[in-house]
């Protein structure tokens, strides 16, 4: 059986999914963490659970929400679990009503009863269940309490038919629904009552779907008639009329099933909000948190850990491998392939695992605690000034970890123009794969100001993104109104387990990539450096790699790094940014990070090193990101644009920095 999990954003849907299926999915605490349909298996191994993005209503505003409507229209679903936030019951029930109208059996998981109780709402689950007419189980999604009961209810019980007529919409609409049914020659799979109501509400996905069955002219005529009739009889638009009718029913359910107590305690959440969204303190607090995050990642904690790991890989590990190879009597070719190719290439990347995990930990913490939505609020004014809205900042923050999920998170942005702009600019956020490059170069040239130099690159990325946002939104992406309404979920104390899982989930991609992509890439690059036009085992400068790198190297003369090594590593950097480090480790032919840094000063001046870092920051989205941009925009033109503008911006900026720096007397 296919069971869909549907609920409002921030109701603990993804936590519930994890507890019901035993598998792990990414959990977050801001609208739109689930940007794609995810499927898990129930613990009974028979039924499948489909996790869908959080929605307020089945009539979508953003692309993210459209996923659910599209799913209900085009795919088979046998049953549904509707998760409700008990503390926001009235609002959540609007969705429940629409699900009942859809006609498939529904079971409710009532979450956050504890929060509701603190706010002074007392809910009697059995009463509520009777009123709505479907099974209801209280759960605590975060800890998993009650989830077994819910799983049992939805998988084994014979579920009652839902009451699709729970709301009486009055004579006009009810008669229109009957007339609507007669318009079909052959009936669609979905309930016609649901289709009719969604169409009346203005659900574009449903209208488009109906055009497969009914001539669009006839459909329009029908819609106009009913809209006019409601305008005349009720004096309001039909969508508001439907909303009001549903609200009346919900109010009735509430009075019959649920007692409201008066006394309300100010939740801790509001006290925290009084500080972090304070008029004066809001922005400084945000910047302070960012600063702490960077210092911990690059300086206080991450750097010593990476150093330890580097020591281990280049010391004991390499030694052991070398001994093993010797004992096995490996040929010089194999010896070189493994030590100079694989260990140098993959090891050079793995060294940065601690720093990357620390960064991902903080991003998870920001998401899970509920602070991310506040960041959107605090940043909205600035983003509005450049033609975006505060929500665009969330994909960008996620982009600091990895650009791919960042770009996908842009789906929660309602207006197409702002969404496109966010997709195009998120690759400018310095992702964790670029971090090893900075770490290497600051270690070589800027030991004293490590964290400061890295921070300057992150800020530069944001600044370029904002400037380009302003440029693009006032030229090629003009028009269309901006839109910003955001729900600020209550703060939740992040649970260590969920945090760790979330960090691991994001970080494991990096480790996996090192084991596969970077591994294969390292072998390939090593081969290119090992063979040349003159045969095998040639001098590095006579290798194919030198020939390829040397071919494009003169282009980089004006920005400070006319060496074939830089050219070659930039090419591999398109495949994955951390491949730059692997390439450099292999071509500079050094045993460890420290000696590579020593060697770098022969090829780069500090100024050229900075220019190189700036170029790496901006020059092109990596292959995976390009693929995601194409998938999300569905446009070759915009995908090509995202690469070209980045290249131009990177070159110009590196040129200004290098040439300007030289004029100012920097080296």
């Amino acid at each position: 059986m296919d069971i869909a999990l549907i609920g409002n954003p921030n109701t603990g849907k993804t936590s519930l999914f994890n507890n019901l299926t035993g598998s792990y999915e990414y959990v977050g605490n801001w609208s739109g963490v689930t940007v794609e349909k995810k499927v898990g298996q129930f613990k009974n191994k028979k039924d499948k659970l489909i996790d869908l993005p959080g929605i307020y209503s089945l009539t979508p505003l953003s692309k993210d929400e459209g996923v659910v409507t599209q799913f209900l229209l085009s795919e088979n679903v046998d049953k549904m679990i509707n998760i409700l936030d008990a503390s926001q019951l009235e609002r959540n029930l609007h969705l429940t009503i629409q699900l009942l109208e859809y006609g498939k059996p529904v079971v409710i998981g009532l979450n956050m009863m504890d929060v509701a109780l603190k706010r002074g709402f007392q809910i009697e689950p059995n009463q509520l269940s009777n009123q709505i007419g479907i099974p209801l189980k209280p759960v605590i999604a975060r800890t998993g309490k009650g989830c077994d009961m819910l799983a049992e209810a939805v998988t084994s019980e014979r579920l009652p038919e839902p009451n699709a007529r729970i709301v009486d919409y009055g004579k006009d609409i009810e008669e229109a629904i009957l007339r609507f049914e007669k318009l079909f020659d052959n009936k669609p799979n979905q309930s016609t009552r649901w289709l009719a109501l969604q169409m009346f509400e203005g659900n574009q996905y449903v209208i488009k779907y109906l055009e497969n069955y009914i001539e669009s002219e006839q459909l329009n005529q029908f819609l106009l008639e009913i809209k006019d009739a409601i305008k005349k009889s009720a004096g309001t638009s039909i969508d508001q009329f439907i909303f009001r009718k549903r609200k009346e029913t919900i109010n009735q359910i509430m009075t019959d099933a649920y007692i409201k107590r008066e006394q309300i305690i100010t939740p801790l959440s509001e006290k925290i909000d009084a500080i972090v969204t304070n008029k004066i303190l809001g922005l400084p607090i945000f910047f302070l948190l960012m600063y702490l995050m960077f210092m911990l990642t690059f300086d206080w904690l991450g750097f010593p850990l990476s150093d330890l790991l580097d020591g281990f890989i280049t010391g004991p590990l390499s030694q052991t491998i070398e001994n093993l190879l010797q004992a096995a009597g490996a040929s010089a070719f194999i010896h070189s392939l493994i030590l100079d190719g694989i260990v140098a290439g993959v090891g050079g990347v793995l060294v940065f695992v601690p720093q990357i995990f620390i960064l991902f930990f903080f991003i998870s913490l920001l998401e899970d605690s509920g602070y991310m939505a506040r960041v959107a609020l605090v940043m909205d004014r600035l983003m509005e000034a450049v033609g975006l809205n505060g929500k665009a900042f969330i994909p960008m923050m996620i982009g600091f970890g990895c650009n791919v999920p960042g770009i996908m998170a842009a789906r929660t942005i309602e207006t197409p123009k702002e969404r496109l702009l966010t997709i195009l600019l998120t690759p400018l956020m310095s992702c964790s794969a670029r971090l090893p490059v900075y770490a290497l170069f600051v270690g070589a040239f800027f030991v004293q100001q490590k964290a400061f130099i890295v921070l300057s690159l992150y800020i530069l990325g944001i600044a370029v993104a904002l400037i380009l946002a302003k440029l693009f939104s006032s030229t090629i992406l003009k028009g269309e109104t901006s839109f910003f309404v955001i729900e600020l979920p209550p703060y939740r104390l992040p649970q260590f387990q969920a945090l760790w899982r979330s960090t691991w989930d994001k970080g494991k991609g990096f480790v996996k990539k090192a084991g596969t992509f970077i591994f294969a890439g390292s072998v390939f690059i090593w081969l290119l450096s090992y063979i040349g036009p003159g045969g095998m085992d040639v001098a590095l400068d006579d290798s194919y790699l030198a020939a390829i790198g040397g071919f494009i190297a003169p282009l980089f003369e004006p920005i400070g790094f006319n060496t074939w090594q830089a050219g070659a590593s930039l090419i591999t950097g398109f495949l994955a940014k951390e491949a730059i480090i692997s390439t450099m480790n292999i071509i500079y032919f050094v045993p460890d990070e420290a000696s590579l840094q020593g060697l770098l000063s022969d090829y780069f001046t500090p100024l050229a090193g900075y220019s190189f870092m700036v170029f790496i920051l901006l020059y092109i989205p990596c292959l995976a990101t390009v693929a995601t941009i194409y998938k999300e925009t569905g446009s070759k033109k915009w995908t090509a644009f995202s690469m070209v503008y980045a290249l131009i911006a990177a070159y110009l900026l590196a040129l200004i920095i290098y040439q300007g720096g030289k004029l100012l007397g920097f080296m």
Partner: protein
């Protein structure tokens, strides 16, 4: 108007028909409609968004929209 109240003041919404359709839809989704009681939590600096609270949930909206919402003080 909602955008003209002071921080901490409570009010009841009486008309949201003047704001943009998309914004109104989203406000309805969040349970904000005529008759809802809201409390002003804070104003972001430089004319930034305002944060309002209703039934224990907080929502951020822009000031442009807030001034189009007719309210009465409570």
């Amino acid at each position: 108007m909602l955008g003209k109240l002071n921080k901490g003041e409570k009010c009841k919404i009486i008309d949201i028909s003047r704001i943009d359709l998309l914004v109104r839809r989203r406000l309805l989704d969040l349970g904000i409609t005529e008759g809802t009681e809201v409390c002003i939590k804070c104003y972001m600096p430089f004319g930034g968004p305002i944060m309002v609270e209703s039934c224990g949930q907080c929502i951020g909206i822009r000031r442009v929209e807030a001034v189009q919402i007719e309210v009465e003080r409570l």
